[in-house]
Symmetry: D2
Subunit: 418 residues, 4 copies
C-alpha cells in the first residue's frame, strides 16, 4: 500500500535489525540455542535461520538470478508454515535439528546478508521487492521478541533457574492509583491507513460504531492480581469462561506462569533468573482466561481492540520496550492525565477475537499466508511488551495468541461500559 | 426484559412443548435413548431428564415450598454445566447412566409436569418465575433439536445404517441459480429489542457500522460443494485456515460428515437411513473450516452475523423446520427477489466469533451461566435448520458451535464485499 | 486332543450353559445391557450376541449346509477378534450398537439354539464339530464371568451405587491365621494332559524344574491389605515395580478398585451396591502391580504359575464360585492342613508372564486366535473367582490379564523361597 | 558375590572405560550432545553426566568424607531412576537441560575422575566399594551403547541424514546358508555363577528343564526379511501377536526402523548416514513383534533365553562389537559347525519375558533399583550388538526392552522344537 523506504534507508535498517538479532543470541550457548521447550516455542537457532530463510526465499530467490542458495535442504528445514513455498519440517521437532549447528547457521546469515547487502548497495530492488524486504525486517523483529519469550520458557524448565544474562533490577516505585478514562464512542475510524508500514491484518482503515466506554489508566498490577488470588480467583468457577475453567483445572493453574511460592512470598522466574515479585509492576504471563476472570472479578471487562486503539492512537509510542534492557515489566514512573503504559511492559489482552477487518485483503502469493490463515480461535493483544522492539509497535498493531497461552509477556488492562 | 406470557398461555405452551419432546423420543428403544456416541452429544434419555431438571431446579425448587423433589441424586446427574447449582456428573460419561432407566425418566417428567401444571393452573407464578419458565420452554426446544442431531450421530456409528424412523423423501427439484443481494450498510441496529422473547446473548439491541456487502440468494448446494471437492478442495492447503487444515488432515476429512462413497456416487446417512445425495439440496454437516475453505475457493467469504441479521430481519421466519417432517435439508421450491432459505434447512456459519454484544448483561443467578460463559472459541450460526422447531428461531437468534463441529445441520451461505 | 462328550451329553450341557447366561442377564434392563463403561469391558448384550455368534460361525456355518444365517451383518458386529473370520466392529464402540436391540439379540439366541439343538438331537456332529461345540460352551462360561465383572464396573460408574440385584450378605467370620506350606520342587509335570477338557494354552503337559518353595495357606485379607496401606504402601516407590509406580501415580490409586472412603471406614461397591468392607475376606480388585508391591512389603513374593499348579492339583476344585450366589469373596469357613481357597473367591495373580508352554500348538484355523495371539504383556492368574462358574475351572487353567487391570475379581496369594 | 578386581586393576579399567566414553562423544557438537529425540532416548550430554553421577553418588559420597560435591543440583538433574537417592528430573525433558553446558559436564567428569583416581591410587576402597565401582564401569559401558543408539535415532530425525562420523563400509560377502543346531535339553544349569562379574539379574545360577530344541546357525538376514515383507508380512494379521498387530498399524510399520524406500531399492540410515541395504547382513532394528511375526511366518519360533544361553555358553565371546569400528551389523565371514554370530552384530530377541530368576536377590540399597524393578512387560535379548563393548557381554548377560522397541540394534535368531 504505502511506499517502502528507499534502498539506502533499507540498507541501514537491514544492518541494524540483523545485528540486533545476533546481539540477542549472543549470551547463549549452542545448547541454549538448539533446544525447544514446547511445540509453541522454537529454538533460537531456528529463529536465526528462519528469519534468514525469509530473505533468501522471498527476496533473493525471487529477485536475484545470480543468487546461489546456501543449502537447498534449508528450504524445508526452515520453512515455518508457508504451504505455497512447499513442505515444512515438523514444527514440534525443531529441537531435533542439531545439524546445521549454530556456527553453520551464523554462516548462513552471513551468506544471505552479503547477498542482500549487495542488492541494496546496487539499488537493485524494485518497489515491490523493497516492500517484501521491509516485511522481512518487521518479521525479524517479531522473532526477536520470540527469541526472548522462548528462551525464558526454556530456562524456566531447568530447576536451577539459570539466567539468560545479568539484568539490572527494575526501578521500584509505587504504582499510581487506577483511574478511568472515558471515551464517547460513536462512529470511529480504526486500522492502519495507507501511509507508513503496517501488516496486512491492520488494514484497511475502516469505521466501527462504539458505545461509550471507559478504559483504565494503567495495567493491572501484581498487587491487584494477588488480591484476586486471595479472594479465591482460581477456585471460583463462576468467574471463568467455561473453557477457561477447564483449562485452569486441567493445567493446575494457581498463579500466573513463572510464579513460584517461597516461604516468604512469591518469586518469579525472569530472564535474569529467580527474583522477588514486584507488587507494583504489571501482572504478566497470564492467559486470556485469567485476564477475563480477573476482569469479571473486578466488576469490569477487557477492552475491545478498537476501543483500545481509539485511546492508544492519541498517545506517543513510548514505553518499557526491549531497548530499555530491563526485559521485565516495571511500575510506571508517573502517569499523566491520559491512560499510560499502553505501549511496552505487557501485551494487553482484548476481548476481540482475531478476525479479518471488513475489506481485508491478504498479501499476494505465499506471503498471503503470513497473517490471514490464523484468523480463527485467537484473541487480539495490543501495545507491545518489555520484550518488543520499540520501533516495531504502533497503535494499529494487532498481535494474537490462543486464549490459554501464557508464555508471552501478556497482561491485563480493564475497561467498562460507560 | 420483556413481559412473559400469562399463566394460561404458558400452560398451553408448556403442555405442547413437553409433549413434542416425548413425540421425538417415541420411535426410539431404551437402548437408543441411553447411548452417547461422543462427548459433545448426549443420550436422548439424558435430554429428557435434563430438560425436566431445568424446571425442577429453576421453577419448582425456587418457587414452590411444597414441591417434593423426585430424586435428590438427579440434582447432580442431570445438571449440565451450572456450577452455581452444584456438582455435575461427568459429561463424557452420560452414556453410562443406565439407571435411572427410561421408564423412570418418563415418570420423572410426569412428576414435574404435574407440579408445574399445578402452579400454572393456580396462576401461582410471579412474573419473574413465569420468565424463568419461559426460558425453560425455549431451552427444551434447543434440546429437541439436539435429540435429533445426537440420535443421527449415534445411528451413523452403526454400520447397518439404522433409521430413526421412516421419513418422506424430500421433494426433488432444481435449485434456483445463485444471485447476489446488495445491502448498503452504514450504521445499523442489530440484536433483540425489549419486546418478545430472546436469550440474553441477543441483547441489548445496539448499533454497528457495516460496509456495503452482498449476500447470496440461497445456501450453497451439494452440487456446488461437489465442484469444490472435485477441484481439490480437500487437498489444497492454501484454501484453508491453518487450524482448519490441521483438523481436516488429523480427522481425515474428504467430504461432509455422513457422506459415504458408493460405486454409483455419494450416499448420505439421514434420519431415515442411507439415501442418495440430492444435488440440489443445501450442503449440510460441514464444519466452519469447510465452510470457510469453500467460500475462499468460491472467491467469496462467509457473512458477518450482523450482515446476516440485517437481511434476515426483513424476511418472514418461514422455512423447512422440524415441523415439515422431512428432517433433512431440501432444495427451495422457488425464491422471490430477496434472499431465501434464510430460516430452516441448515444453520448458516458466519465469520463472527461468538462474543458478548456491547452492554451484554448475563441473566442473574445460575441462569447467567446459560450463555455467557461460552463466549470464547466458537462461531455464530444463524437461521435454524430442518431439525429446529419453527417457533424457536428469529432473526436475532445466535447459535454457536466450535469451528470443527459437523454433527449439527450446518451449511454455508456466501457473502462478499460490495 | 481328548474325546469330546457325546451328542446327548453335549445337548444337556448346551441347554444348561445357554440358560445360565440368560439367567445372569435377567436382572438387567435393556439400558444396563447396552452400555460399555470402558474399552476393556463389553455390554452384556454384546456378550449375549457374541457367544451366540461363536456357535453360529464355528458350528452352524461350518457344519450345517441348511443353516440360515440370522442376520449377515452380525458376522462383523459380533466378531470379537478373529481376523481369520473377517472384519470386526471397533471394540471401544460396542456400547454404540443400540441396534440390534435386546429383544432381537434374544431372538438371535433362540434361532441359533434351535439350530444347534437340532444338530445335537440328530446326533449330526462329527467328533471335530463336537469338539468345537465344547469349546463354545467353555467360551460362553468365560463370558458369563465377564458379564458380572463388566456390569459391576458399569454400575460403579453411577454415583447412586445401583445394585445388579439383591444378594445375601456373605457369612462373617475371622480369617484363619496365615501359614506356609512347603513344596520340595525338582522336576515336576505341569499342564493339562490328554484327557478331559482344556484350552490349547494349558497344553502340552510338560516338565519344569522348580526350586523348593512355600505357598501361603490362604489369600491375603482386606485386614492385611489395610496394614500395607497404613504403612505407606501406596506412597513408597521402592515397594513397586517401575511401571507399577507410574501406573499408580498416573491413575491416582490409593486403595483397591471399588473402595470408597467413608467417615466410618472403607466401603466397597459390590454387585449388591455399596457395602461395608469385610476385613476377613480376601482382598479383591487389585492389579498385578499392587499384588507385587504388597508381596514385596510383606517380605514375600507372588507364586510362579507352575508352583501354584503343583499345589492346586492336589486339592479338590471346590470353593466360592458364582453358583454360591454371593458374587463376592468371603472369608473361608475353615482351612485344613493344605493351602485353601485356591479355587474360587479371587483369581490369584502369579509372577508368570503369559507365554506359550514348550511345544504349544494353537488350534487349527480361526480358533487358533483364541489364546495364542495374546501371549505377550499379560500375567497369568489362577484358580477362578466368586464370579467364575465352578465347572469352568481346573488346576491347569490359565487366566491372563494386563498388569494394571483391576476390574476382575483378582487377589493375592503369597509365596516365598524355601 | 564374586571378588571385585583389586584397586590397581580397577584404576586401569576405570581410566580406559571413562576415556572410551569421551571418545564416543568426540565427533559430536554441543547441539548433538544436548538433544533428546524421544522419551526413551537420552541426550549424550546426559549420558556423560549420569555415568559420572553414578560414581559420585555411589562411590565418592558413600566412601569418601573429604569429597567435595561438584554441584549439588546435579543430584536431581542426573539421577535416572533411583528413588532411594531422591527426586529425579523428568525423563522426557532431559533435552531441555541446556545448562550445565557440555564444557561444564566435561569438567564434572574430570572432577569426579580425579577423586576416584585418588581413591584408587591410595588403595582406599573396601571390597564392597570396589564392587560398586566395578558396577559403575559396567553401567558406563551400557551407556556407551546407548550413546550410539540414541545418537543414531536423533540423527535419523533429521531429513538431511547426517552422519555421526565417517565409517568404513562393512565387508560384503554372501551369508552362509541357515542350518539348525540340535540340543537335547533336560535339566540344565543357567545363569551366572559366583565367579566373575555379572549383574544381579543374571543370578543365581539355577536349573531349568528344557525340551529338545534346535537353534538356527546364524541370525536372519535382510534378504530373508525382505522375503517376509514381499510375502505380505506386514499386512497379514494372523502372523502377528494381537498387540503387535495393533502396534504395527498404529505406528504405520512397513519395514524395519531406519529403512527408506528409494527408486532403486531400500536404503538404511546408519551412523555413517544413508547407505544401501546389505542383503547378507543380519536384519536389524526390528521390534519383538516383528521378530515374532517373522518367526511364525518362517514356521519357527524365537528361542527361550535359557535355550540361547545353553548354546552360547559353549561359544567364545567374539564377534562384531563396537570395537570393530563398523557400528553396523555385517554378514559373518564364515561359520563353523556350531551356531555363529551369537555375540555381536545384533541383540537377539528371545521369547522370554524379563523376570526374576528363582532365588533372585536384588543388590542392597539404592542399587537394588538397578535391574529388579523393571522385571515386567519387557522381553529378554541376548548376545550384544555391533554397538556393545566386547568386554561387556557374556553368555549369561540379559538385556531387556519393550516389545515395540526398535531403536536398539535388535535382530532375530530362529529356534524350533526338535
Amino acid at each position: 500500500v504505502s511506499e517502502p523506504p528507499g534502498c539506502a534507508a533499507l540498507r541501514d535498517q537491514y544492518a541494524q535489525v540483523r545485528a540486533r538479532t545476533l546481539e540477542l543470541a549472543a549470551p547463549l550457548s549452542p545448547e541454549d540455542c538448539a533446544a525447544q521447550s514446547m511445540p509453541d516455542a522454537s529454538p533460537v537457532k531456528w529463529h536465526l535461520a528462519h528469519t534468514t530463510w525469509f530473505f533468501e526465499v522471498f527476496v533473493l530467490e525471487a529477485g536475484s538470478e545470480s543468487y546461489r542458495v546456501f543449502n537447498p535442504a534449508f528450504r524445508v528445514l526452515f520453512n515455518s508454515y508457508y504451504n505455497a513455498v512447499g513442505d515444512q519440517y515438523q514444527r514440534s521437532q525443531r529441537g531435533l535439528l542439531t545439524r546445521p549447528d549454530l556456527a553453520t547457521v551464523r554462516a548462513y546469515r552471513e551468506h544471505v546478508d552479503a547477498a542482500v547487502d549487495g542488492l541494496l548497495a546496487r539499488g537493485a530492488l524494485s518497489a515491490r521487492e523493497a516492500g517484501v524486504l521491509e516485511i522481512g525486517l518487521h518479521h525479524e523483529q517479531q522473532h526477536q521478541e520470540l527469541i526472548l519469550t522462548d528462551v525464558k520458557h526454556l530456562l524456566s524448565c531447568n530447576p536451577t533457574h539459570p539466567a539468560y544474562r545479568e539484568l539490572p533490577a527494575p526501578p521500584r516505585q509505587r504504582a499510581a492509583a487506577l483511574r478511568w478514562h472515558r471515551e464517547a464512542g460513536g462512529v470511529c475510524w480504526v486500522g492502519a491507513g495507507e501511509r507508513g508500514y503496517a501488516f496486512d491484518n491492520e488494514r484497511p482503515r475502516h469505521r466501527v460504531f462504539l458505545e461509550p466506554f471507559e478504559l483504565a489508566s494503567r495495567p493491572v498490577t501484581n498487587r491487584e492480581y494477588l488480591e484476586f488470588m486471595r479472594d479465591g480467583g482460581y477456585t471460583c468457577a463462576q468467574l471463568w469462561l467455561s473453557e477457561g475453567w477447564s483449562a485452569a483445572r486441567a493445567r493446575g493453574w494457581r498463579a500466573p506462569l513463572y510464579w513460584e511460592p517461597h516461604h516468604d512470598g512469591w518469586r518469579v522466574m525472569t530472564l535474569a533468573g529467580l527474583r522477588e515479585l514486584d507488587l507494583d509492576a504489571p501482572v504478566c504471563h497470564v492467559s486470556y482466561f485469567e485476564a477475563d476472570a480477573f476482569a469479571r472479578w473486578a466488576g469490569a471487562r477487557l477492552p475491545g481492540e478498537t476501543e483500545w486503539e481509539l485511546v492508544a492512537c492519541q498517545a506517543p509510542v513510548k514505553g518499557n520496550f526491549a531497548e530499555s534492557g530491563l526485559l521485565q515489566p516495571a511500575a510506571a514512573l508517573e502517569l499523566s492525565g491520559a491512560p499510560g503504559q499502553l505501549f511496552g511492559d505487557v501485551w494487553e489482552w482484548t476481548r476481540s477475537a482475531y478476525a479479518p477487518y471488513p475489506g481485508f485483503r491478504p498479501l499476494q502469493g505465499a506471503l498471503g499466508e503470513y497473517n490471514g490463515k490464523f484468523m480463527c480461535g485467537q484473541q487480539v493483544l495490543r501495545g507491545g511488551s518489555c520484550a518488543t522492539p520499540g520501533s516495531h509497535v504502533r497503535a494499529s498493531y494487532r498481535n494474537f495468541f490462543y486464549p490459554p497461552d501464557r508464555w508471552q509477556f501478556s497482561g491485563i488492562r480493564l475497561a467498562r461500559d460507560a
